[in-house]
């Protein structure tokens, strides 16, 4: 069974005047367990909208099509239910939560899952062990875990913290929204290594990026080109290199 199956998805977002503006105009995409799909495209193509619609962010209206996740109608689920069902969004701009330690935040998230599954809360000792082990792998300092969520983090620290959260929450589907933005080459490598460590035969990933660079490190099985709300071309990883050489002009031209 496909992990994520998107069929002819249409979605709008409210513009500043409160009028619906079509962004996604018929997207179809199937991710099987173990696969990494990359979505590339120019600014304004609808890349972030796609990740927001999958994760259930308020403010987007699905006007047509279906999204099936692990056999369930994803669009019927609330954002937090989707997360607990195993969908993780690594944010392009991770949000600051003052006064809430990163460790506390993660523990709350893990316990929310366990509660939904009828399991008891995680033992404090087990949680700490798990967090320290993951933090070490990602080169995250212990001191960062005590700092409030994303407050005063550098760009690189924020993205590393996102991947740490991803590792801790053990999702089935990871959506990475422009995870490479704001990263220098060293930070990019650390983050990519972290993501690659999470590749398993059960887990699927949707990697949204503007640049081919990230895909040198996180090698996708399939690459899609998104332009003006539609997938205009799909191929293997060589498509990304082709785009790097030629740019998006061909597709934006075709869409216009």
């Amino acid at each position: 069974m496909a992990l994520l199956e998107i069929k002819d998805l249409h979605a709008t977002v409210e513009d500043d005047d409160g009028n619906p503006k079509p962004i996604l105009k018929g997207i179809s995409l199937t991710i099987n367990p173990g696969e990494i799909h990359a979505v590339m495209g120019p600014n304004g193509a609808g890349k972030s909208t796609l990740s927001n619609v999958i994760s259930g962010r308020p403010g987007y209206t699905v006007t047509g099509g279906t999204v099936t996740y692990d056999g369930q109608d994803l669009l019927e689920m609330e954002a937090d239910e989707r997360a607990r069902a195993g969908i993780f969004l690594a944010f392009q701009y991770p949000v600051e939560i003052p006064g809430v330690a990163t460790g506390t935040f993660l523990k709350t998230a893990i316990n929310a899952r366990r509660k939904a599954n009828g399991e008891p809360e995680i033992e404090a000792v087990d949680f700490l062990k798990m967090m320290k082990a993951n933090a070490k792998k990602l080169g995250v300092a212990d001191s960062m875990l005590k700092r409030p969520v994303n407050v005063g983090f550098s760009g690189g620290e924020k993205k590393r913290a996102e991947v740490l959260q991803m590792a801790m929450l053990e999702p089935r589907l990871c959506v990475l929204d422009e995870t490479d933005s704001g990263l220098d080459i060293d930070a990019l490598r650390v983050v990519a290594d972290g993501v690659n460590a999470l590749r398993t035969p059960e887990r699927g990933m949707l990697v949204i990026t503007h640049y081919q660079r990230l895909l040198d490190y996180i090698v996708p099985d399939v690459v899609h080109v998104l332009a003006d709300g539609r997938i205009v071309k799909s191929g293997d990883k060589s498509l990304a290199l082709e785009l790097e050489a030629k740019g998006y002009a061909e597709f934006t031209g075709a869409a216009a």
Partner: protein, 484 residues
């Protein structure tokens, strides 16, 4: 822990949405309805008080008759008919007062259990001495003996009037005089009971002292009176926490708390206030008009107020410090949460008299629903307060678009070497923060509680450990239904 869970379950069963809303059926003898000199004589007689105590009450009452209810605060409520209330109610078993918990009315003990205060368990496990106030008369006091062996006096104030009259006469009304303000003066006239604490010279009280208050009789004004004295070089931490049963009529509560610290002494006073806030329209909630004031009489002394205010329909409360002694320190840490139709006008007063006195104010106000909240704070530097300093940080958090938050600082400096700093912010829980939490699988109400707890962290971490945990939960409970 099983017992605690059991308690929680029973509370949930026994109440609707207000988690501590239940009523215990205990026969009580009441003073006749209404307020006049006879009512005061009745109360005084019931307590078998000495003449000086009755005289003081009557002096206060006569003064009260000349006073006007304050109307400068930013809260609204229908006029209170002071004649349409009872001013005294006591459990009937009072005459043959229990000598141990075994003799306490089992109904009463069950009430404590519902409140999560299994006294015996606390005696054995928690190491907390509880002076439990039930309907104005203290019926059970634990650890008193142990404390008294060390020289700490911790007893109902009605008992202190008999046993330690010289201490009571010396200090009662010495911080909040009988003529202070409308509600405090009313309290002087009709106060029923409360706690009395005296910590002798040089003793650091090793136990947290704790009193749980309870309002249980319909139409009974609740007038607690607390007096705490920390003698030279002593320290005491005092916890006050309260819940109340669900009622339809508004209940007036006008407490007075007086704190006194001598040279090098410190009092830490923590409150978690969770009285019935009324239904979502504000109907039936408690009116909480409280006067709390501490006097740092001695040099290098310190008074620290921490409050977590989540209950009551209307709150009017300004725990204050009078910094007389040189180098004395006053602190005020506050979290106030108003939801639905709750109103709160709360803050503090820091009066700097002595040299190099310091004060710190951190106020965190959270408003949700249609609630209205005002921070009102006075910092006054008197001419002799050489080198005095104050820092005030006042943050408001809004949830939704129908609530209000107001900040009214009064700053008066009459000494050119004194420094006063005031910082204020107003923010709201952003959609981005909420979605970030949801995307990690945290349900919306838990997310709000998490974000608000983060916002209040600086204050909550000043609470004693056991209280901090309770307070964090309370923050979540208070904001249920505020989003979505």
């Amino acid at each position: 822990m099983a017992a605690t869970q059991d308690t929680i379950d029973r509370i949930a069963e026994a109440s609707g949405t207000y988690k501590y809303g239940f009523v215990t059926d205990i026969e009580s003898d009441k003073a006749p309805k209404g307020l006049n000199e006879d009512t005061i004589r009745f109360i005084s007689a019931k307590k078998d008080e000495p003449a000086w105590m009755l005289d003081w009450r009557l002096k206060a009452y006569r003064h009260w008759l000349t006073m006007k209810e304050p109307d400068w605060q930013k809260v609204g409520y229908p006029p209170i008919d002071y004649q349409d209330a009872y001013y005294y109610a006591a459990p009937k078993s009072k005459d043959d007062a229990p000598k141990s918990l075994d003799e306490v009315d089992p109904e009463l003990l069950r009430t404590y259990e519902k409140l999560g205060i299994p006294l015996k368990e606390q005696e054995m496990l928690a190491g907390v001495a509880v002076d439990a106030v039930f309907d104005s008369v203290s019926v059970a006091t634990t650890y008193k003996k142990k404390l008294e062996e060390m020289g700490v006096i911790f007893c109902p104030i009605s008992e202190a009037v008999h046993r330690f009259p010289e201490l009571v006469q010396k200090y009662l009304g010495s911080v909040v005089p009988y003529s202070d303000n409308f509600f405090a003066t009313l309290n002087c006239a009709v106060f029923t009971d409360g706690s009395f604490v005296y910590v002798p010279k040089g003793l650091r009280c090793p136990m947290e002292l704790s009193t749980y208050f309870r309002i249980n009789e319909q139409n009974t004004g609740q007038f607690e009176r607390t007096l705490i004295i920390a003698d030279e070089g002593s320290y005491v931490s005092y916890l006050e926490g309260c819940t109340a049963p669900q009622r339809d009529d508004n209940q007036l509560h006008a407490a007075v708390v007086e704190l006194i610290t001598m040279d090098d002494a410190e009092i830490k006073y923590s409150t978690v206030q969770n009285w019935y806030p009324g239904d979502s329209e504000g109907k039936g909630g408690i009116y909480n008009f409280v006067t709390k004031r501490g006097a740092c009489r001695g040099k290098n002394s310190k008074i620290s107020w921490t409050q977590v205010e989540t209950g009551s329909a209307v709150t009017w409360k300004y725990p204050s410090c009078i910094l007389q002694g040189d180098n004395s320190v006053g602190e005020f840490y506050s979290v106030a949460i108003t939801n639905n139709a709750q109103q709160a006008d709360t803050g503090t007063k820091m009066i700097h008299i002595g040299k190099n006195t310091r004060s710190r104010i951190i106020s965190k106000g959270i408003s949700a629903g249609r609630a209205d909240q005002t921070y009102r704070g006075l910092v006054r530097m008197l001419p002799k307060a050489e080198g005095a300093r104050n820092h005030t940080q006042c943050d408001s958090l809004l949830i939704g678009d129908q609530c209000g938050a107001h900040t009214v600082p009064y700053i008066e400096s009459r000494n050119p070497t004194a420094q006063v700093e005031h910082e204020a912010t107003t923010s709201r829980i952003s959609d981005d923060q909420l979605f970030y939490c949801l995307q990690r699988g945290i349900p919306e109400e838990d997310a709000v509680a998490l974000i608000v707890n983060g916002f209040c962290k600086e204050v909550l971490q000043t609470l004693p450990m056991e209280f901090a945990v309770e307070a964090q939960k309370l923050v979540g409970i208070s904001l249920e239904g505020s989003v979505g």
